[in-house]
């Protein structure tokens, strides 16, 4: 066998193996989505959006309580997490730069990003739920905020650092004070990237179950009082899917489907923002 023949065989072998691996990976994704869509659409109906939870055996049970609860929990987490994360990221990129404090914050936030979310749930349980004596929506939102924070912080930091320093210098050279350089020039340059980061962070916390089990817990009925336990799609899905009742299991599929579509939409939106930016 000549050297060239050998090289062609190895080349083909590597190509076939890597293609096969990719196909297997994507295959599983399609399988999951397929099962989800088939079971989910089957379980979907108008009553799901109109009705609250019902005891097993009752055909009128819905997910309205979980949908609204989820929306409230994630909205508050976004309300707290985004400004905190963006401001902290601004500090890292524009003020801290390579300073020791900034580098430490970056390392810690990277560790936080990979921390198991159940640990964060347990932490919020210890500092909020245990002292107050009961589960609450606030505790749930705080747990989600903590999960969201490092993601928003690091994306903001990364996106701001991508803005060329000559752009900052040009603004300074016109006599702009630092805060105006940041808010009027740097933020504008990084807008699409930061927005994408925020959307992906919202998508990430919207799919969390473990931290909510310890904090907002659950409620089978509609509750909008943040100081009380609150239903969420994820925890409802967990409860319904593991129950022995067929109608509850069906609602679990519906919850899984709705949640996946919501997160998929956020992800696609995030990618569209980035594409639009690159397209320029």
């Amino acid at each position: 066998m000549t050297h060239t023949q050998k090289r062609i065989i190895i080349n083909n072998l590597v190509m076939v193996l890597s293609t096969l691996s990719a196909v297997i990976g994507i295959g599983f994704l399609i399988w999951i989505l397929g099962v989800l869509v088939i079971n989910g659409i089957d379980a979907l109906s108008m009553t799901i959006f109109a009705n609250e939870g019902a005891p097993p055996g009752n055909e009128d049970g819905g997910l309205k309580h979980a949908l609204i609860g989820q929306l409230i929990l994630v909205s508050y987490a976004t309300l707290f997490g985004v400004p905190l994360g963006v401001l902290a990221g601004t500090y890292l990129s524009e003020y801290g730069q390579k300073a020791k404090l900034a580098e430490t914050i970056r390392d810690v936030s990277d560790i936080m990003m990979s921390a198991p979310s159940i640990v964060i749930g347990a932490f919020v349980y210890a500092i909020v739920v245990a002292p107050s004596g009961h589960f609450s929506g606030w505790a749930g939102s705080i747990a989600l905020t903590i999960i969201m924070l490092p993601i928003v912080l690091r994306t903001t930091d990364d996106m701001l650092q991508l803005v060329p320093s000559t752009l900052r210098e040009a603004a300074f050279a016109l006599g702009a004070p630092k805060y105006k350089v940041i808010t009027q020039v740097v933020y504008r340059g990084a807008k699409a990237g930061i927005l994408t980061g925020i959307l992906l962070a919202v998508a990430r916390v919207a799919g969390e179950t473990a931290p909510l089990l310890f904090t907002s817990f659950n409620d089978n009925f509609l509750n909008t009082d943040m100081s009380q336990p609150m239903a969420s799609l994820t925890v409802t899905m967990y409860n319904y899917a593991t129950s022995p009742y067929e109608d509850w299991q069906k609602l679990g599929w519906a919850a899984a489907f709705i949640l996946s579509m919501f997160i998929l939409t956020l992800n696609i939106l995030g990618r569209l923002f980035l594409l639009k930016k690159r397209g320029k």
């Binding site: 060329p164 040009a170 300074f172 050279a173 016109l174 006599g175 004070p177 504008r188 807008k191 320029k280």
Partner: protein, 261 residues
Amino acid sequence: MATIVDITEEKALKVKDFEFTYAGTDAPSIKKLTMPIAKHSITALIGPSGCGKTTLLRSFNRMHDLYPGNKYNGEIIFKERNILTPKEDLIKLRIQIGMIFQKPTAFPMSIFDNVAYGLRLQGIKNKTELQGRVEKALQDAAIWNEVKDRLKHDANGLSGGQQQRLCIARAVAVEPEILLFDEPTSALDPISTAGIEELIVELRDRVSIIIVTHNMQQAARVSDYTGFMYLGELVELGRTEELFVTPKERLTEEYITGKFG
């Protein structure tokens, strides 16, 4: 000691025993440099890479202050005062001494907002005044006819040469006394370069101009005075035609004849 021609005009800047040291280094990048800059004329700074010409230029509007740890010594006199003192108001200084960069730095906003940026920073809110001054600046930068119908469009949609002229308009709009050009055409094609050079010459009547360039022909084409720098020192400052035809220093002659650099 450097050979410095006698400048008869008024001075825009007087550099005296100026030393500059970058953060984290011991050796100064500019050593005991003394140099007058003539008012309402164009002074070009030439020299091989690393000779300190850009470092010197960025000292005139204290750009180095944006990064911690850089050190200035000596004096740069502008309007009877040393601008290197800590009490110098950098915002005011940078309004009076504008800067154009190597790469065009159009802000991610509309063409109009780009030019109005410096004016708005100074608190000008009146719409008619803003419009008038933006239009005048764009005319001064010879780009008005190309952009007058799309002032609301994103400035990043302009070509490189147009963006650079937009940046010049933005700098001219605040009516500075000195304009610093840091290799303003090195990222542009020859036609845009010619346009920018023409513009620089036209601006001379209103502002004093200092231009750093890698291109000796450019220095010869546009400038009245040329300073040749080498290893952080000024070797020779002369009238441009004299410096290029009959340089006084051997080092200058070797550089302009291409023996090194």
